[in-house]
Amino acid sequence: MKYFHLIWTALFRRKTRTILTLVSIAAAFLLFGMLDAVRTSFDQAGKSANGAQRLQTGSKLSFIETLPQGLGDQIAQVPGVKSVAYSNWFGGAYQDPHNQVFTFAVSDNYIDQYPEVQVSDDARKTYLQTRTGILVGDKLMEKYHWKVGDQIPLQSNIFPQQNGSKNWTFNIIGVLHPKEASAGFYSQIILMHWKYFDDSVAKGYNGGRVGWFVTRVNDVNQADRVAKAIDALSANSDHETRTQTEAAATASWMKQLADIGLIVGSIMGAVFFTLLLLTGNTMMQAVRERTSELAVMKTLGFSDHSVLAMVLAESVLLVLLGGVIGIALAAVLIPGVSANSGGMLNLPTVGASSWMLGVGLMLAIGAVVGAIPAWRAMRLNIVDALAGR
C-alpha cells in the first residue's frame, strides 16, 4: 500500500493515453453490465423462495388448451397441496388492438398464491365485492395514467361478450405492488374475476374452463411428488396435464424465447478479446517508455519482485478503474433503458453477483495484460537499460 502513490503517478504519467484507455475499458464494462443484467433477468425469472412453493398445471397437449375447472377440487385433495387457484388468458388490449396488456381472469384466491405481490386490504375487500373490478400492476397504472376508481375499456382479441362485442369495461379497484424483483411481471398485468369472465363471455367460448392451475405446496421438498400426483389425476383422460414448478416452467419459456446465454457469451467474448489487446498494448507502451526509470528504481534498491508487483498492480488498477466506472455507468443507465422500453424490458439493476463477476473479470484481465510487461520489467538489466540498449 505504501507504494500506491508511486503506482498512481506511473499510471497517469501520460494522461491522454491513460484516459483514452480508461474510456475504452469503461465502454467494455458498460456493455458487460447491461448484458449481464439481461442475462440475470432471464436466469432469475421464476426463481424465488415463494416461486419454489408453486406448481403450474397446464394441459399436456399445448399451452393454448384449457382444462375443466372441476379439476381444481381434485387437485386440492392431493396430499401436500396447500391451496389451488386458477387463471385464464384473456388477451386484453387497450385502445388499439396492437397495444396488448397482459390480462388474466383469475379465481378469487389467486392473489393469495403470490404473497410477494402486495394489495391493500381495503382494495382486496372491495375487489371481491365488485363483479367488474380489476387489480392493476403499479407500472401499468403509471404507463396509462390510470387512477383507482377509473372505469377503463379493454378489448379482448379472443373473447366476445354475450352481445357479440369484444369491448369489455372494467373498474380499477386496487393496485398490485410486487415486493420482490422476481415478481416484477406483476407490475405489468391486470387481474379480473374469472367468475365474471366465465359468466359474461359468449356461449361456446369458455364454458367453465380454465387455462392453468397454480398450486402451493406445504413442503418445497415434496414439490416433485405432488406434481406427479397431480398429473396422475388426469392420466388417460381427454385433458391430461403437465405440472411443473414455477421455476422450471419459466425457464422452459425463456429457453424457447432465445438462447440468451449464447448471445451474451459470444458478444462478451469478442469485447474482452479486443479489450485484452488494447489494454495490453497500452501497458506495453507504458513500460517501454519507462525503461530507464525502472532501471533507476532498481538501482535505488527496489527488488526485482517489487518492480514486477508494481507493474502488475498498475495494470490491474487501470482495468479496475475503468471497469468500475463502466459498471457504475450501467447501473445508472439501466433504469432509464427499462423505463424507455415501455414495459417490454424489465431489467434488474446491476446486482451483487454481476459486480462480483465484473470485478473478478477486471482482476483477471488486469493480471493477464500486465503479465508480459511486468515480466520484462522484472528481467530488466540495470546496466543495459540505463545505457539505452
Binding site: A27, A28, L31, K60, E65, P97, R242
Partner: protein, 438 residues
C-alpha cells in the same frame, strides 16, 4: 481561439457523420474517385500521397499497436453484422412467407391466426366470394385452417424438456394455395387420419419427427408420414388434416383462419371489399404476404435496436483504442512530421496522410470483422417464439451484402474520427517544439 477551433471541428464532425450514415454506395464511390483524382493531379495531393506512403511503409514496425485498431474495429463490425444478420434472417423468414395472390381471412380484431375463430358458415361465404381462384373441376382453391399448438420433446434436451410447435390443420386446398411447399420425404397425410407431415425446420428442432414414427400429442398417438420444405416460416410448423386436428382439439367444425388463392394479385381489392361489406361476416382480410410481414415488425425492430446499441457501445471502445494508437503514432513521428513541415509541406498533406493511414487500418478491420461474421454466422440456425405464432420459429442468420456494407461504413466512420484528432494535432504542433522533442 483553440476552444473555438475544437468546437468547429466537433460540429463539422457530427455533420459529416450524419451525412456519412445516409450516403448510398455510389456517392461513396464518387467521393473516393474525386479524392483519388485530387491525390493524383494536384500538387498538394501528390504531397499527401508521398507522406501517406512513408506512413504506410512504416506500419510494419508498429504492428502491435496498429493491430489494436484492426482488431478493435473487427470486433465492432463482427458483432454488429452478426446481430443485424440475426434480425435480418428473422424478418426475412417471415417476409418471404406468403404471396400477394393469396389472402388470409381472420375474424375481425384478431391479432393472429391462433386467436381467430371462423365458423362453418363463414367459411362457406368466403368460398363463394369474388376473386377466388378455381381448380379444373370448378372447386374454389381455399383452405380452412386450424392453428393450434402442441408440446413436443426438444431434440437434445433433457428427458422432461418440451417445447411448443405450431400445429396447423389444413384443408384440401392447402397444397394448391402454397405451390412453393414441397414434400421432400415420405408422403402427404391422408384426410381423416391422424397423420402428420412436418416442416424441415420443426424436424431439426424436435425429437421423433421422422417419417413412420409415432408421436404423442397429449394422450393421442399420431404418425409422422412425411417431411415438407417451403423455405419460409411454414418450415417450423407441423401439418395434419384439419378435421382430425379439430377433433383432437375439440374445435368442432370451426376453423381459426382461411387461406384463399386469388385469381391474381389484382383481384385482392375486390375480394376484400366483398368480404368486409358482407353483413354475415365480421372479418379482417389481408394478403398472406402482408400478414406475415406485419408479424415480424415488432421483433425485428427489437433485434435491430439491440444490435445498434451493442454496436455503438463497442464502437466507442474501439474509437478510443484507435485514438490512442494514432496519438502514439503521431507522437513517435513528431520530429519527422515537423521536418516535413519545416521543408515546406503544408498542413493538409499531413492531416490527409494520418487520416488515410487510420482509415486503411479501419478498412482492414472492417473487412476482417465482416468476413468473420459471414464465415461463422451466415446460415447459422436459431429459433425463437415469434409473435403471433404458437410455436418456435426457426430462422437462419442472413449476412447480406447490405449488412456487410453497413459494417464497413461503421468501420470507416470509426477510422475517420479516430484519425482526425491525432492528424489535427500533428498538423498544428509548432514546428520548433516538435523538432526539439525526444
Amino acid at each position: 481561439m483553440n476552444f473555438l477551433f475544437n468546437l468547429v471541428v466537433l460540429v463539422v464532425l457530427v455533420i459529416a457523420l450524419v451525412v456519412w450514415v445516409q450516403l448510398p454506395w455510389y456517392a461513396v464511390l464518387a467521393l473516393a474517385v474525386v479524392f483519388a483524382a485530387w491525390m493524383a493531379l494536384t500538387r498538394r495531393g501528390r504531397q499527401a500521397a508521398s507522406v501517406t506512403g512513408v506512413g504506410v511503409s512504416t506500419l510494419r514496425q508498429r504492428l502491435g499497436s496498429s493491430s489494436v485498431v484492426i482488431v478493435g474495429i473487427a470486433g465492432v463490425v463482427g458483432v454488429l453484422v452478426a446481430l443485424l444478420a440475426m434480425g435480418e434472417g428473422y424478418s426475412e423468414t417471415l417476409r418471404k412467407t406468403g404471396s400477394d395472390d393469396t389472402a388470409m381471412v381472420l375474424r375481425g380484431g384478431s391479432a393472429a391466426e391462433v386467436s381467430s375463430v371462423m365458423t362453418r358458415d363463414g367459411i362457406l361465404v368466403v368460398d363463394q366470394a369474388p376473386g377466388v381462384a378455381h381448380d379444373s373441376q370448378g372447386k374454389p382453391i381455399t383452405s380452412g385452417e386450424i392453428v393450434v399448438a402442441a408440446n413436443l420433446p426438444i431434440k437434445g434436451g433433457g428427458p422432461d424438456e418440451e417445447g411448443s410447435v405450431q400445429l396447423r390443420g389444413v384443408g384440401d386446398g392447402a397444397w394448391a394455395v402454397r405451390p412453393n411447399l414441397k414434400i421432400i420425404a415420405g408422403r402427404k397425410f391422408q384426410p381423416g387420419m391422424r397423420e402428420l407431415v412436418v416442416g424441415q425446420g420443426a424436424q431439426r428442432q424436435f425429437a421423433g419427427l421422422e417419417p413412420r414414427h409415432a408421436i404423442k400429442l397429449g394422450a393421442q398417438t399420431w404418425t409422422v408420414v412425411g417431411v415438407f420444405a417451403s423455405g419460409d416460416a411454414l418450415d417450423s410448423e407441423i401439418w395434419g388434416d384439419a378435421d382430425a386436428v379439430a377433433e383432437a382439439y375439440r374445435r368442432g367444425s370451426s376453423r381459426t383462419s382461411m387461406v384463399v388463392k386469388l385469381t391474381d394479385a389484382k383481384a385482392f381489392d375486390a375480394f376484400k371489399a366483398a368480404l368486409v361489406g358482407d353483413p354475415r361476416l365480421q372479418v379482417d382480410v389481408d394478403t398472406t404476404l402482408n400478414y406475415f410481414s406485419k408479424q415480424s415488425e415488432g421483433m425485428s425492430k427489437v433485434m435491430r435496436v439491440m444490435g445498434i446499441t451493442v454496436g455503438t457501445i463497442m464502437a466507442i471502445g474501439a474509437l478510443f483504442g484507435a485514438l490512442n494508437t494514432m496519438f502514439a503514432a503521431v507522437a513517435a513521428r513528431a520530429r519527422e512530421i515537423a521536418t516535413l513541415r519545416a521543408i515546406g509541406f503544408r498542413g493538409v498533406p499531413v492531416v490527409v496522410a494520418v487520416m488515410l493511414e487510420t482509415m486503411l487500418l479501419a478498412l482492414i478491420g472492417g473487412l476482417i470483422g465482416g468476413g468473420l461474421a459471414w464465415l461463422i454466422f451466415n446460415g447459422f440456425t436459431a429459433s425463437t417464439l415469434a409473435a403471433g405464432t404458437t410455436g418456435q420459429l426457426a430462422f437462419t442468420f442472413k449476412v447480406t451484402p447490405g449488412l456487410l456494407w453497413e459494417g464497413l461504413k461503421w468501420a470507416l466512420a470509426i477510422g475517420f474520427v479516430g484519425g482526425l484528432f491525432p492528424a489535427l494535432r500533428a498538423a498544428r504542433l509548432p514546428v520548433t517544439t516538435a523538432l526539439r522533442e525526444l
